[in-house]
C-alpha cells in the first residue's frame, strides 16, 4: 500500500500543476517588466541596469536573437509570457504588428522621433541604429598580403580569397539588410551576379549576424561584413581592427521595441519605452559605450564614431523586401552559393 501511495504522490506531482495554474491578472502598479531582449546581452544588461536605477522598476529579461524571439512570441500569442520585445530589426516588428502580436502606445517621446523610426499608429518605435560596414583585422590582412578594401567591388579581387566572413541571409537579419542594400545599389540581377563573384572569396557564411566579428576578433578571417558596434568596441579595446564604409554606400538597421499583446505589466512597459526612446535612454547608449547610434537627433555620440549623417546610407523599402524575401533568398542559394 505504501508503494501505491507513493505512486499517487508522484502522479500528483506530475499532473496537478498542469491544471492548477490560472492566468494572472494585468497589474496596474509599475513594479517589474518582463522583456524578451534581442539586443546582445552585455549591452542590454547595461541599459536595463541604468533603467532600474533611474525608475526602481525591476527588469526581468530573456535573451533571444530576433528569429527565436519572434518564433516564440508567435507560439505564445494565446498567453503572452513577456511584456516587451526589445531589439530585432523593425521589419520583425512590422511582422509582429500584422500578426496581431503587439499593441500600440503613443506618447510625447514617440512624437519626438523621426518618421523613419516609428510606426505611425505607435505599434513599434526604433531604439537605435547601426550602419553595415567592413570590419577589418589589419594584422590578419597584412599577414595575407592584401590591401585595404574601400568598396564592395574591391572585395571580389582574388587577393581576398577566403579572407571574408559574412552572415547568411537565410538566418540573419544583418545579411538580409546586406542583400537588400546591394539590390538597391546594383539592381537585383546585378546584386546576384556581384554576390556570386564575392562568393569565391567568402571563407564561410555564419548563421548569426554577429558571427563574422568573432572571426575578425581572433584573426580567423581578415574582413567581416557586419553592423558596426562590435568593431567599434574592438577598437576601443585596442585590437588591430579598422572600420571601412564602402564607397558605393551601405544599408543600416534600426532595431525597434514593441509592447506585446497580453502583457501583464503594461504600465511598466510604457515607462520603459518612454525612458529608452527619450533623452535619458538615448544618451545612455553613448554613456554606457554600446556603440549604437541614437535615433534621437539631439542625443550624444560615443567617441570614435563618425556622425551618422556623414555616412552614405542606402534606404530600402522594407515592405517590398519583406514580401519578396523568400524569393530573393532562394535566388541567393541558387545563384550565389553555387558559384565557384
Amino acid at each position: 500500500m505504501k508503494k501505491l501511495l507513493l505512486l499517487g504522490l508522484i502522479s500528483c506531482f506530475l499532473f496537478t500543476p498542469l491544471f492548477a495554474q490560472g492566468s494572472k491578472e494585468t497589474v496596474d502598479e509599475a513594479k517589474e517588466v518582463v522583456i524578451y531582449a534581442s539586443v546582445d546581452e552585455e549591452n542590454s544588461a547595461k541599459l536595463f541596469k541604468a533603467f532600474e536605477e533611474e525608475t526602481g522598476i525591476v527588469v526581468k529579461s530573456v535573451h533571444l536573437s530576433s528569429g527565436p524571439a519572434l518564433a516564440r512570441i508567435q507560439a505564445e500569442k494565446e498567453r503572452a509570457q513577456a511584456d516587451v520585445w526589445f531589439g530585432a530589426p523593425s521589419e520583425n516588428h512590422i511582422t509582429a504588428k500584422s500578426d496581431g502580436l503587439t499593441i500600440p502606445y503613443k506618447s510625447p517621446e514617440l512624437d519626438a522621433l523621426g518618421l523613419n523610426f516609428k510606426d505611425p499608429e505607435g505599434y513599434w518605435r526604433c531604439i537605435y541604429m547601426n550602419p553595415l560596414c567592413f570590419g577589418i583585422n589589419t594584422k590578419a590582412l597584412e599577414k595575407a598580403g592584401a590591401t585595404m578594401p574601400t568598396s564592395w567591388e574591391d572585395l571580389t579581387k582574388p587577393e581576398y580569397k577566403d579572407l571574408i566572413q559574412a552572415p547568411t541571409p537565410q538566418a540573419s537579419g544583418t545579411a538580409k539588410a546586406e542583400v537588400y542594400g546591394l539590390c538597391e545599389i546594383m539592381g537585383e540581377d546585378g546584386a546576384m551576379s556581384y554576390m556570386a563573384r564575392l562568393n569565391r572569396n567568402i571563407q564561410t557564411y555564419t548563421s548569426s549576424g554577429t558571427g563574422p566579428s568573432k572571426g575578425v576578433n581572433v584573426g580567423d578571417c581578415a574582413i567581416g561584413i557586419q553592423f558596426t558596434p562590435a568593431f567599434f568596441q574592438f577598437i576601443s579595446q585596442g585590437l588591430p581592427v579598422e572600420v571601412v564604409f564602402p564607397s558605393e554606400g551601405i544599408p543600416a538597421e534600426a532595431p525597434a521595441v514593441s509592447i506585446l499583446k497580453g502583457a501583464k505589466n503594461v504600465k511598466a512597459a510604457q515607462i520603459f519605452i518612454d525612458w529608452m526612446t527619450g533623452v535619458k535612454g538615448q544618451n545612455a547608449l553613448s554613456e554606457l559605450s554600446t556603440y549604437f547610434y541614437p535615433v534621437l537627433a539631439t542625443a550624444k555620440l560615443a567617441e570614435g564614431m563618425p556622425a551618422f549623417d556623414s555616412l552614405k546610407i542606402i534606404p530600402y523599402d522594407k515592405a517590398y523586401y519583406s514580401e519578396n524575401s523568400e524569393r530573393i533568398i532562394t535566388r541567393w542559394i541558387n545563384e550565389v552559393l553555387t558559384s565557384k
Binding site: 498542469l18 577566403d162 568573432k214 581572433v218
Partner: protein, 570 residues
C-alpha cells in the same frame, strides 16, 4: 496456408499479451506504473509532437503536403538531407570505432593511466555545445594555433565537411566509450580465458568471442551516435556554413530565420525518418544476437587475452586521441584566462568577473533544474528498460518506441512543440520551472533506457525467476535483484542525463524564461556576439560544476553501494 498460419501466430501472440496484461491486475503497483508511464509519454512526447505535425501537414488551415513538396522540391534541402545522413553515419561508425578502441584498451588490455583516459573521455561530454567547435576554429582555422603557428599553413579552411566531422567525432565518441565500457565490463572474462585454454589464438578470440558478445553494445552505440549527430545543431551551426547545409540547422533557420514554422517542421519531420528507422534496425538486429553472460556464477580473469605488443599499440593510439582532446579543450581554458584570444595572451580574470556579474542567477537556475530532473529521468529510464525487457503487456512496444522518439526529434521541434502544447488551456506551463523539468526528464530518459536494456539483455532472467519462485513480488524482485545489477548502467544514465540537462540548448532556448534561465543559453548569446573570452569562462565554470557533481555522486555510490558509475571511476 502460410498466410493463415501467420494470422494465427499473431492472434496467439496478441492473446498471450492480453493474458499477461490481465495478470498485471494482480500487481497493482506495476499496473499503475505502466498506466502512468503511458499517460506521461502521451502527454509530454506525443502531444507536443502532434502539435508540430499538424503545422507541418497544414497550409492555410487545410491538410496538405505542400510544406514537404516545397521543402524537398528544392535541391538545397535535398543536399542538406544527404549531408546530414553522411555526417551522421561517419560520426556513428568512426565514433563507435574510437569508443570501442578506448573501452577495449582500458577494460581488456588494461593499459596504464585508466583514470587519465576516463577523465579525457569525460571532458567532451561535460562541455557545453558550441565551445568545442569554437576551439577547433581556434586551433585549425586560418589563424589557428596548429594550422598557422605549428604547420605554417597560410590558408587553412576548417569550415564545412572536414571540420564538422572532426567536431562530431570528438564530441560523441565518449558517449560510445561509456556505453561500450559498461558492456565490456559486464562480459565475463572467463569466457575469453576458456577460449584461450581451448587453444584459440588471441585474434581469433577477439573476433569470435569478445566482439560478438559486444555486438549489442556496439549496435546501441552506433544507433545513439547516428541519432545524436543527426539531431545535433551546435557543431554544424558554427562549422558547417551555408555551403555544406545540414538538415537540423536548416530546420532551425527555416523556423527562426524565415519564420516558416510549417516548412521548418516539415524538414525536421523528415529528420525523424532515418532516426526512427535506425532504432528499428538496431532493435531487429540486436534482438537476434543477445547473449547472457552474467549468470550469478563467480568470475575472475587470468588477464592474458591481449599480447604485450597489441597493448603497446593500443596505448599509443589512445595517447594520440587523448592529446587531441586535451589540445581542444585545453585551449578553451586558455581562452577563458587570456585577455583576448589570438591577440593578447596576457592572463586576466576579467571574463570570470563578467560571468559572475551577468550570469550568477542562471548558474543557480541551471543547477536547480538539472538537479531535480536528473534523478527522476534516471529512475524512469531504468524502470522503462525493465518493463520493456522483462515484462509482457499491451503497449510495451509503444513505450519503447515513444520514449526513443523524444531523443530522435531535433530539439528545435521539441521546443516549439512544447510551447504550442503547453501555452494553452488546459496546460499552462510556459514560463515555469516545470516545463523545463518535464522537457529534460523526457528528453533524456532514452539514455537510461538504452543503458538499462543493454545491461538487462545480459542478465539471465532465471536469477529474477528464482527470486519470484522464492515468493518475492515483482516490485521486490526489481528493487532487490534487478536494480542492484543495473546500478552501474543506472548511474551512467543518471550522470549523462545530468550533463545533458546542464548543457542542453536547442529545445531549452524556447523554454527558458525571465525567472528560469540556463547557462548554455547565455553561452550561446556570448558566442553569437563574438565574446569568446566570456563564452570560454562560462564554459569552464559549467564544466567545473559538472565535474564536482559527478565526484559527489561517485562518492555517494562508493560509500553506499560499494560500486562506481562508469564515468570518472578509478
Amino acid at each position: 496456408m502460410p498466410l493463415f498460419n501467420g494470422v494465427t501466430m499473431n492472434v496467439r501472440e496478441l492473446k498471450n499479451n492480453f493474458k499477461s496484461t490481465l495478470l498485471l491486475r494482480k500487481d497493482p503497483v506495476l499496473f499503475g506504473t505502466i498506466i502512468l508511464i503511458i499517460i506521461s509519454l502521451f502527454l509530454f512526447i506525443l502531444f507536443p509532437l502532434a502539435k508540430v505535425c499538424i503545422i507541418a501537414f497544414q497550409k492555410d488551415g487545410k491538410f496538405s503536403f505542400l510544406n514537404f513538396q516545397e521543402a524537398f522540391g528544392f535541391w538545397y534541402y535535398r543536399q542538406a538531407f544527404v549531408n546530414s545522413i553522411v555526417v551522421g553515419l561517419l560520426t556513428a561508425f568512426i565514433g563507435t570505432f574510437i569508443g570501442f578502441l578506448f573501452a577495449y584498451s582500458i577494460i581488456r588490455a588494461k593499459i596504464p593511466g585508466k583514470k587519465f583516459f576516463n577523465i579525457i573521455a569525460t571532458i567532451p561530454i561535460v562541455s557545453p555545445p558550441f565551445i568545442g567547435a569554437l576551439a577547433i576554429i581556434m586551433l585549425f582555422g586560418r589563424n589557428g594555433f596548429v594550422s598557422s603557428f605549428l604547420l605554417k599553413m597560410s590558408n587553412a579552411n576548417i569550415y564545412g565537411f572536414k571540420g564538422l566531422l572532426l567536431a562530431q567525432v570528438i564530441t560523441f565518441f565518449p558517449v560510445s566509450y561509456i556505453t561500450l565500457r559498461g558492456v565490456l565490463e559486464s562480459i565475463s572474462p572467463t569466457l575469453e580465458d576458456a577460449a584461450m585454454d581451448l587453444g584459440g589464438n588471441r585474434f581469433t578470440i577477439f573476433m569470435r568471442v569478445t566482439l560478438p558478445l559486444a555486438i549489442p553494445g556496439i549496435a546501441s552505440s552506433i544507433l545513439v551516435l547516428f541519432v545524436e549527430s543527426l539531431a545535433d545543431f551546435g557543431n554544424p551551426m558554427i562549422l558547417a556554413g551555408s555551403e555544406f547545409p545540414i538538415l537540423s540547422v536548416q530546420a532551425f533557420l527555416e523556423i527562426t530565420g524565415m519564420y516558416n514554422l510549417g516548412k521548418g517542421s516539415a524538414l525536421a519531420f523528415v529528420l525523424l525518418i532515418p532516426s526512427v528507422s535506425a532504432y528499428f534496425i538496431q532493435k531487429y538486429w540486436v534482438s537476434k544476437k543477445q547473449y547472457i553472460t552474467i549468470t550469478g556464477k563467480p568470475t575472475a580473469s587470468s588477464n592474458k587475452i591481449v599480447s604485450n605488443r597489441a597493448r603497446n599499440i593500443l596505448f599509443a593510439i589512445c595517447i594520440l586521441i587523448a592529446a587531441l582532446v586535451l589540445l581542444i579543450y585545453g585551449s578553451i581554458i586558455y581562452g577563458a584566462f587570456a585577455m583576448s584570444w589570438g591577440n593578447d595572451a596576457t592572463l586576466t580574470l576579467k571574463h570570470f568577473k563578467y560571468v559572475f556579474e551577468v550570469g550568477f542567477d542562471s548558474l543557480i537556475d541551471t543547477l536547480i533544474i538539472a538537479g531535480i530532473s536528473t534523478p527522476i529521468s534516471g529512475i524512469l529510464g531504468m524502470l522503462i528498460a525493465f518493463l520493456i525487457v522483462r515484462k509482457k503487456f499491451i503497449g510495451r512496444k509503444f513505450i519503447g518506441v515513444v520514449s526513443m522518439l523524444s531523443f530522435a526529434v531535433p530539439g528545435t521541434v521539441i521546443g516549439i512543440g512544447y510551447i504550442l502544447a503547453f501555452n494553452n488551456s488546459p496546460f499552462y506551463l510556459t514560463g515555469t520551472l516545470l516545463i523545463l523539468l518535464i522537457n529534460f526528464i523526457f528528453r533524456y530518459i532514452p539514455v537510461g533506457i538504452q543503458g538499462g536494456v543493454a545491461v538487462l539483455g545480459q542478465i539471465d532472467p532465471s536469477i529474477e525467476e528464482a527470486a519470484e519462485d522464492l515468493g518475492a513480488d515483482s516490485n521486490t524482485t526489481f528493487r532487490r535483484i534487478t536494480l542492484p545489477l543495473m546500478v552501474p548502467a543506472f548511474f551512467s544514465g543518471l550522470i549523462y542525463a545530468f550533463v545533458r540537462s546542464m548543457t542542453a540548448i536547442s529545445a531549452a532556448i524556447f523554454l527558458v524564461s525571465a525567472n528560469w534561465n540556463l547557462m548554455t543559453v547565455q553561452i550561446m548569446s556570448q558566442v553569437e556576439s563574438g565574446r569568446i573570452g566570456a563564452a570560454s569562462a562560462f564554459s569552464v565554470i559549467l564544466v567545473i560544476i559538472i565535474l564536482i557533481s559527478m565526484l559527489i555522486i561517485n562518492t555517494i555510490l562508493k560509500l553506499k553501494y560499494h560500486t562506481k558509475s562508469s564515468l570518472l571511476s578509478n
